[in-house]
Symmetry: C2
Subunit: 328 residues, 2 copies
DNA sequence: CTGTTAGCGCATTCAT
DNA sequence: ATGAATGCGCTAACAG
């Protein structure tokens, strides 16, 4: 086993109380004895026992963050930023990945709670009253992002509704009169937390209401390529395809290329997220950009503020911007 | 605070010893009392205090894994697989990212050690005797992957040397007579652990020795595009560019397209890793594939085996295979 | 079968 | 300025 404070005490001929005073430089100790103890501790490579220390102190200086996916570059980047900010403020981070499984997510949240993290940043698949009250019961500070839950949990993200709305306005301004909106299926409403796609959909409806000249169709099935294909066949005039994620846009672009349909000559294409991969794609994809690093950092900062009992805003939106690209 | 075993004891009119027997179903307890205690514990939503439990048991059922990057899809996938296997075997996982910083890596390893993880999977930037002896001193089981360190630490990865060697043979077999090999700079040798690129380079040399008809140049500078451009200008005959990572190949492909140099008509291009992004790239990139999920799973399995005191092989190589693609 | 006791390593209050 | 004692929550060995 490792060297303990008790051993140091014996070696120095004092008691553990005195050793503790030296190690945590608290008052009530002669400089000479402190120096001696510190020296011995240094030589022995003493490190306080984290578990014992946390047990008595009641906190772990550790944050948990639950994501459902890290393959998506947006999330890995967000995690990076979150972690960097947390570390800057002296916190260690536990990352867990739910893989979009409600059961797994619950299991992981419990694991984090068991490990007595001081706070949790949560992108949840779960939702609903019982879920929220379970979170509340833990008495652990929680900040949400992405999917919102309706409890008194602070929220840090971008304004999705406004962002899609802006994208539609951009398309309309470019002269497009027909729009296909491609999104994650919303049919799991009630089964799974789909706050983000709902917000984006709401933004679409709002903007299309403002632009009556712009006809629109919505594609939300898993076979969206086939649906788009059908819509494209029966369409007259130039259409724009707006995707709620760059990932969809890339798949569609691949299909368009295979069909020898030219972008943007024959079809306009726009994504969302501005992920790094876009650097390797021709033509440059129009998309919606936002500073995901800022989201990550602010998320950590907000969570730590809550842990320390400071007041934080209920919601905090990061700015977004349209990236014109060459695909429109 | 949360409900403790002491409270359950009082509520049931027994002592903590008895409660412990019921909770951990140990022998020496009447079925009736056990049932009662279990019922009360259930009702109160009792969860054992992880820190206290670990403190006395001496283990945490937790693994640590240190990576330098998770943006790279290879690593995020590896992490996924590692985590899944660990969870299957009852272990929780702490992930830390060193960002290729030796200091950060050391700090994180110490954080993991402080938190008393039962074992660590390590992709290290650090190397050398003092580093290894520090790891050894911790007495915590460690398994390495990717960058190897020379101590008695088991290694799970693919055979990089053989893989590049096979790739070169493939190129030679296709009739190429000129090769440019693009790799991470090796000049940091001695400063940083660069085991993987060194192995791949060794494979290149070996295979080129076997194929004397194949002339080759090596590009390792950060401005590899400029260098390749120069080499391309002064070349006669068709050249193949072999990259030690798909990432480089994608950058080069982007540049080739911009220069209107046709692939594979004018230049052959080959990557390494077979990352998912390749699905979105034309022409389909030739590359070297290996099952990274298998590496992750075997890594976890090997680490857990070591923790449990079982014997594990010193090194364990995952199979690789050439993916022909359309870029050659 | 169940109660008692001790101890994991550390922090902290009260004596001295 | 230092020592002694108590407790965090749990496990385990020993009594009875």
């Amino acid at each position: 086993m490792n060297v303990t404070s008790k051993q140091i005490a014996e070696l120095c001929g004092v008691t553990r109380g005195t050793v503790d005073r030296a190690l945590n430089n608290r008052p009530g100790i002669r400089p000479a004895t402190r120096a001696k103890i510190l020296k011995v501790a240094e030589e022995l490579g003493y490190r306080p026992h984290f578990l014992a220390q946390s047990l008595v102190k009641g906190h772990t200086k550790t944050l948990g963050i639950v994501l459902f996916d890290i393959q998506n570059q947006i999330f890995s980047q967000l995690f990076h930023a979150f972690e960097a900010e947390a570390r800057k403020q002296g916190y260690f981070v536990y990352l867990v990945l739910s893989n979009r499984s409600k059961e797994l997510e619950l299991e992981y949240i419990n694991s984090l709670l068991d490990r007595k993290v001081d706070g949790i940043a949560l992108l949840s698949i779960n939702e609903g009253k019982k879920f929220e009250s379970a979170l509340l019961k833990s008495r652990t500070p929680i900040v949400t992002f992405g999917n919102r839950i309706s409890g008194p949990f602070p929220y840090v993200w971008l304004n999705d509704k406004q962002a899609i709305s802006d994208a539609v306005d951009h398309l309309a301004g470019l002269g497009y009169r027909q729009l296909i909106y491609v999104s994650l299926p919303l049919r799991r409403r009630g089964e799974e937390n789909i706050y983000v796609p709902e917000q984006r959909y709401a933004g679409l409806l709002e903007a299309c209401g403002r632009n009556p000249d712009l006809g629109f169709k919505v594609v939300m099935s898993r076979e969206y390529i086939a649906e788009i294909s059908a819509l494209y066949e029966q369409s007259r005039g130039k259409i724009a395809i707006l995707c709620s994620s760059d990932i969809y846009a890339l798949e569609i672009l691949k299909w368009l290329k295979a069909q020898k349909i030219r972008v943007p000559d024959q079809v306009g294409l726009m994504g969302f997220d501005n992920i790094d991969i876009l650097n390797y794609v021709n033509p440059a994809l129009a998309t919606v950009d936002y500073n995901v690093n800022e989201i990550g950092a602010r998320l950590a900062d907000t969570l730590i503020a809550r842990i320390q009992g400071r007041d934080v805003p209920d919601e905090s939106f990061i700015r977004h911007a349209i990236v014109p690209g060459e695909s429109l």
